[in-house]
């Protein structure tokens, strides 16, 4: 039962080879022996990997695991089960970073052409135009000018066309 982590959108395949007498894990085809030492703070890790000690910090967020080790911070994404409604993803314009809406250039019910600018957003002083990925009809604009949004927020939905 291989487990997958994502680093920078690249999957890392991990397989548990053995649990006793010690844990053996295969990472992208290379096998490692692992022993964990417990620590008072669960965020501090102390691992013995192939006989060498490794210490650092780890933080488990909602969808990511952040690791500090050897002067480097690495962020892994934990693959999520696709949420209900993800089939509709192609019908939404989502924010790929947090920001603020500068202006809304369309309205519900409006037919828009591929490439047409729908929203202007600003993230950290940089403005970007969000345009229609295809010809579509705007179903709903979920934001108004000056509204702040988080990454992943649905900003605008298109009407689902009958097949």
């Amino acid at each position: 039962m291989p487990t997958t982590l994502l680093h920078d959108d690249t999957p890392i395949l991990v397989d548990i080879v053995a649990r006793v007498p010690e844990l053996a894990v295969e990472i992208d085809g290379v096998q490692h022996r692992v022993a964990a030492r417990s620590s008072a703070d669960p965020r501090a890790f102390s691992l013995l990997i192939d006989g060498a000690a490794h210490e650092g910090w780890v933080y488990r967020g909602a969808t990511e695991i952040h690791v500090r080790h050897a002067g480097r911070t690495t962020i892994f994404a934990v693959p999520q089960r696709s949420a209900a409604g993800s089939a509709r993803a192609g019908n939404d314009i989502r924010a790929d970073m947090p920001g603020v809406v500068v202006s809304v250039h369309c309205a519900a019910g409006q037919a828009v052409g591929a490439g047409e600018t729908l929203l202007t957003v600003e993230s950290m002083k940089l403005q970007a135009a969000l345009s229609a990925p295809r010809d579509a009809v705007v179903d709903r604009v979920h934001v108004v000018a000056d509204e702040a949004f988080e990454r992943g927020a649905v900003l605008l939905s298109f009407r689902i066309e009958a097949e």
């Binding site: 039962m1 487990t3 982590l5 680093h7 920078d8 690249t10 890392i12 991990v14 397989d15 548990i16 080879v17 053995a18 649990r19 006793v20 844990l23 894990v25 990472i27 290379v30 490692h32 692992v34 964990a36 965020r43 890790f45 691992l47 990997i49 490794h54 650092g56 910090w57 780890v58 933080y59 488990r60 967020g61 695991i65 952040h66 690791v67 500090r68 080790h69 050897a70 002067g71 480097r72 911070t73 690495t74 962020i75 892994f76 934990v78 970073m97 947090p98 920001g99 603020v100 500068v102 993230s123 950290m124 002083k125 000056d146 702040a148 949004f149 988080e150 990454r151």
Partner: protein, 486 residues
């Protein structure tokens, strides 16, 4: 006499100001928006008053509410920090009208220095060099002709601007008209003032600025210069004092020009005069910031003064604490800005929770966040500053590299590893700095992402409950079989 101070700000600078206020035995009052209710500046104040706002930043910009808070708390002065209302002349007036002391210059000085065109004219009148420029006096054709006559490349700037917003580089005459139009439209949007001007572009200049203190009676001293050439899109990333490899004649000329300008303005408060310095040694006035700067700690470290204390002293009418000949610099100091952003993803802003936060032991830390605090997109991305000082520049740089290696912030993607690569870079260590540094060395500073180390991968897996269940909860029989699949 000032006995209490309301800090009309948030984040690291609110904490920084409150620390001095309390050290001086004064009462320190914080204001905050609900989004900041768990922020450190709220916890460390003697009293904290909540402000409301349609968006969190609006609360800190709401002059009437802040004056109300001052009256409710019964304070006698207001420190604006930087950003928000720090350079808002109307706010300075409103504070004075409420019978309170504004820790800053008078409104007229803020207005003068806040207007790029007026401040440039003022500087020129004091024999402070300004770059050749042309101003739009309401005749677009004449403006175009005068701008083109300066020669290319040109910089189009907003008169009311700052921070690089609405700035355009124009390299040829046929791009000029369109760039002026776009710059004016952005200037109107960002600053509510569509006036722009054109200025000779000095390619890859250094950014050198001078810290001054003025008593408002015509006495001004300088606390030497800072170098802020490590910038990304006109936002400072690393600052230091003094400026490395600066010929003494140039240094003296720049500091003298700064004092001349501030003296002529009868400047009151701590202030900074910014210059650009070309490779040929020619320098030009950029702007004057009539407030405490983000990077003020590097000056404090080398001159041994507390600039917030000096500001409060001046605001209280007690004048300057030192004469120019009593100012000595000792050592070298470097500051880095820790920002919630992802350098490897084109510096996208990042959000999250400060899940693990460990500050370096042997560095000065100015932080506006605490462990457990959420970082949202509501505010500026700067979370903290780390400052290291040494007897030499290289010692300060070595200490910074060590501090950044030691620093841990997990849960909020940030630029700490990127900063560590900058301070360890050969060109930085040699002091070969200009404002193009981060672009010129981007291949070294933003290397292709290395595959993660097995130790990091295994640490991540061990922190994942799902993985731990598979490892720990398996029946002994199955475990003994070895490789097990369902």
């Amino acid at each position: 006499m000032i006995a209490s101070v309301l800090v009309a700000n948030r984040g690291e600078i609110a904490c920084r100001i409150l620390r001095t206020v309390r050290r001086l035995g004064m009462r320190g009052i914080a204001v905050y928006h609900f989004a900041d209710r768990n922020a450190p500046h709220v916890a460390m104040a003697d009293e904290a008053l909540e402000l409301t706002g349609s968006v969190p930043t609006a609360a800190y910009l709401d002059q009437a509410q802040i004056i109300q808070a001052c009256l409710r708390a019964g304070v006698d002065s207001v420190h604006p920090g930087y950003g928000f209302l720090a350079e808002n002349a109307a706010f300075a007036e409103a504070v004075a009208a409420a019978g309170l002391v504004f820790v800053g210059p008078d409104a007229d000085t803020i207005r003068l220095m806040g207007d790029k065109i007026a401040s440039r004219n003022f500087a020129r009148a004091q024999n402070v060099p300004v770059a050749p420029s042309a101003t739009d006096e309401g005749d677009p054709t004449a403006f175009l002709r005068q701008a083109a006559a300066i020669g290319f490349p040109l910089l189009i700037k907003a008169s009311a601007g700052g921070g690089g917003k609405g700035m355009k580089i124009v390299r040829s005459a046929d791009e000029l008209q369109e760039n002026i139009r776009v710059a004016a439209s952005e200037a109107l949007r960002y600053f509510g003032d569509g006036r722009v001007y054109a200025e000779k572009l000095v390619e890859a200049p250094r950014h050198i600025e001078v810290q001054v203190l003025g008593d408002g009676e015509g006495s001004v001293i300088h606390l030497h210069e800072r170098e802020c050439s490590i910038q990304r899109r006109h936002q400072k990333v690393i600052e230091e004092a003094p400026a490395p490899r600066l010929p003494p004649s140039v240094k003296n000329a720049i500091c003298d020009a700064a004092v001349r300008l501030a003296t002529a303005a009868r400047y009151r408060n701590a202030g900074t005069i910014e210059f650009i310095l070309g490779a040929d040694g020619a320098f030009y006035f950029l702007e004057m910031n009539t407030r405490l700067q983000v990077e003020h700690p590097v000056t404090e470290e080398i001159v041994g003064l507390d600039l917030v204390e000096e500001q409060l002293r001046i605001a209280d009418g007690k004048g300057l604490s030192r004469r120019q000949d009593e100012i000595r610099i000792s050592g070298h100091s470097i500051e880095v800005r820790i920002c919630a952003e992802q350098p490897e993803r084109d510096f996208r802003p990042a959000t999250g929770v400060c899940g693990v936060l460990r500050w370096p032991a042997d560095a000065r830390v100015e932080a506006g966040v605490a462990e457990g605090q959420e970082v949202t997109a509501a505010f500026d991305s700067m979370l903290a500053k780390i400052i290291t000082t040494g007897s030499t520049r290289l010692e300060a740089a070595d200490r910074m590299k060590h501090a950044l290696d030691e620093f841990v912030l997990l849960g909020v993607p940030n630029n700490a590893d990127y900063l560590a690569r900058i301070v360890a870079h050969e060109a930085f260590r040699e002091g070969r700095l200009d404002t193009n540094f981060l672009v010129e060395h981007s291949a070294d500073l933003l290397p292709a992402q290395r595959a993660p180390e097995p130790a990091a991968i295994l640490a991540a897996l061990m922190a994942d409950a799902g993985f731990r269940r598979v490892v720990d909860d398996v029946p002994a029989l199955h475990a003994a079989i070895g490789r097990w699949r369902n």
